[in-house]
């Protein structure tokens, strides 16, 4: 079982991203689970979401304490929130940031691989959200597909087209683009 934890802010779409990831894995025959830590939903407030992907039935129903993969939709969360708590040794961290992955250091982690990608710009390029608050969830999914190999980008794109109510195409393109420009 692979466990993925998403960190974002209300409005960025972390919950939806965790869901789409699960659905994409489901298309590929996996057992899946996705759920948010539902705080008091307000714009800007920190949001956590979880995805589990497994070959076997997933029975567990608690938060993810030891994720294999961490997704950070908003780099301003780094610092205020102990994002990396419990990250498994050799875990992966994908951060939406224009900065270089080397510029991020997480002292309490064991040998993580850090990836950054500027999802905000890509989202804006496709007109997703406003400049002030780009909606980066579809963009980051492409990066997840690439980095983790848990699901194919095709599955991601199909689910996006199925589940995203507005701007299906643009969202799909955003995912495609991060998939492509993410260097692993």
């Amino acid at each position: 079982m692979v466990e993925i934890r998403f960190h974002g802010r209300g409005g960025q779409g972390a919950v939806k991203a965790s869901d789409i990831l699960a659905m994409a894995a489901f298309r590929e025959g996996k057992e899946v689970q996705a759920f948010p830590f539902f705080g008091v939903e307000r714009r800007g407030a920190p949001v956590t979401a979880f995805t589990r992907i497994s070959q076997e039935e997933i029975r567990i129903h608690c938060y993810i304490y030891e994720p294999d993969v961490l997704i950070v939709l908003d780099p301003t969360l780094i610092g205020p929130i102990p994002l990396t708590d419990g990250l498994k040794p050799n875990g992966k961290i994908i951060i939406n940031s224009e900065r270089d992955s080397n510029s991020f250091i997480f002292p309490d982690t064991e040998n993580p691989t850090i990836f950054t990608i500027d999802c905000s710009s890509i989202a804006l390029k496709y007109g997703l959200g406003s400049k002030a608050s780009p909606i980066v969830n579809t963009a980051i999914l492409g990066a997840i597909a690439k980095v983790t190999g848990l699901v194919s980008i095709e599955s991601i794109i199909e689910v996006i087209k199925e589940r995203i109510p507005l701007y299906k195409e643009k969202n799909a393109l955003a995912a495609q683009e991060t998939y492509e420009c993410m260097c692993v």
Partner: protein
Amino acid sequence: MSNKTKGQKIKLTLPIEEVMSPGHLACQGCGATLALRYTLKALGRKTIMSIPACCWSVIDGPFPYSAAGVPIYHCAFETAASTASGISHALAQLGQDNVTALAWAGDGGTFDIGLQALSGAAERGDNVIYIVYDNEAYMNTGIQRSSATPHGAWTTTTPVKHYKRGPKKNIMAIMAAHHVPYCATANIAYPEDFIRKVKKAKNIMGTKFIHLYAPCPTGWKHPPDITIQVARLATLTNVFPLYEIDNDVYTINKKIQKAKPVSEYLKLQGRFRHLSEKEVQFIQRTVDQNWKRLLKLEEAFRNEKN
């Protein structure tokens, strides 16, 4: 508004004291939050509130914090009025007559699930100010229709294909029917008028009711920066006229010379986006009718004691 430059004394049209603190959890541009800010400016710190389930149960902040600055009893959704009645009677019994009992509820907690308790308090004449901040839906649970939702609006339980049909419940008429000593409409875009009304209510014994218009950018699907604009337009289009009923005497506080077309108001808000031209016209007609009705009431029920 005269030009003022550095050093000049600043004139404020509202009381300066901020009882409500920043740091609260309201969305950006929240009308309901302005609403309480004004209310507490009017009432001051000698106020005890009951707040039922509503956005304000979240806005106020989680334990161990609170933003209101006055004592609050967060009460059950149905009980804004009855809890306030209890508070008010306790204050009377304990000799704290100088403290105002304020019931502060959303439209859902007032028009729907709390209506009966409100009606009971009004009938008994319990000494309470009841203010409903009306954002025309259940916002705290994520935008479901309430009986304050206007005709035509989208909400999650009145999806676009099945958008809300039927008029907004006429809560002012209902409260007027209770012959409360004072009831009034108010709008966050007109805080001076609102504060005057709250202060007036404070000095009247019995059950006072204020129906306060408070747009919700999140639920109405408009950008947060135009909250005041939207609110103002509600009055300028006669969608939400400002009036008060003082011992059964009607006074319209703001008679718009030439009301703006309702479409101006509607088009700012995503929740009305799906409306056909015909539907917009229907809404315009309804607004006109209601306005006429109000004029008639003012005409019929003026102060006769003079």
